[in-house]
Symmetry: C2
Amino acid sequence: MKPVNEDVQHRILLSARAEFATFGLAGARIDRIASNAHASKERLYAYFSDKAALFRAVLDLNGCEFYDAVALRADAVADFVGDIFDHSLDRPEHLRMLTWARLDGVPFAPPTGSDAPAGKVETLRAAQRLGLVDTRWDPELLLTMLFSLGFAWANSPVPGAVANDPDVRSRQREAAVAAATRIIQPR
Amino acid sequence: MKPVNEDVQHRILLSARAEFATFGLAGARIDRIASNAHASKERLYAYFSDKAALFRAVLDLNGCEFYDAVALRADAVADFVGDIFDHSLDRPEHLRMLTWARLDGVPFAPPTGSDAPAGKVETLRAAQRLGLVDTRWDPELLLTMLFSLGFAWANSPVPGAVANDPDVRSRQREAAVAAATRIIQPR
DNA sequence: TAGACCAAACGAACCAGTTCGTTTGACTTT
DNA sequence: AAAGTCAAACGAACTGGTTCGTTTGGTCTA
């Protein structure tokens, strides 16, 4: 049951991602999405039932891409935080979309699979069995804190926390990884 | 200088805070703000020049309250993270407002003073001199990470991260404080 | 009387979503 | 190959409702 023209639908989805990530659900404008996608509103509503449905489609797309992008290996748990940090700079729209959705109360179902949160918790458990992560941590709580460390500057309310200077950035990254190392360190 | 009736202006400000914290700048409705404040729109626009100005006034109010609410003492740096965690549950509107403002690109100037970020960085430096915090940390980077740890669950995109069960909450809180303890530990 | 206040209404702009008439392209029939 | 058919793609214009910000007319109080 594939859509008649996947190309147009895809262009609308990408345009919607840029719009929603920039302006949020309430601030986004359907006209801008259609026009930036070089499509008509009629086409947009042919493929997506309404604004909220389009938002959810973008949210799902970003959620999957997001969890796929940051991989967790049992033998490199601290580096995982560095990867998250890098990703928050490479693809800021991912975190922005998740944040808009959370504030707007749009339910978001994390993907299932090995790259999903549940899979990452399992990997943390494996790292604990290998003696690479302190076994006293609840892996679920630990995962939340690791994500939070990686996003510390992206989420910081203080303006200018996301620095442009590469030197500052690498010092932030190193701090996050070093903090993660100290946290997981068995003793 | 002073408004003719501070009471009405204050009611509008509090109503605006609830509205903006819930719906954001674009989603907030001026009519709702006025009506919930038991005030007329005419009064609202008598005291605040436009929607954006009202938003900025709310943002400043929240920013001051926010930094005032969480105190940092040199001899209780890890507990500071616990205080942040508690505050994220007690006054979620503070973090929500700061987050809406960041996403919407509304500039936010943190307050100045001893409770402000700059003052807290100084306190961290003092804690380092007292040998309570590892001196290898850049205090500014450390502060961002401590805030981030305290907000780890409030900022988590995973729905249900903010738990209602007091047991789960206290385990989250303990994890955040324990992680902070490990991070700052001199060695 | 002056000014703080309110309810109501207004206007211009805006916005989500629909309708409608036209075009395109693939497939058939002659 | 020309003509006919049909469904989907499409753009432009339209609709009904909403929103911000302003104005008006009036009450109350110092």
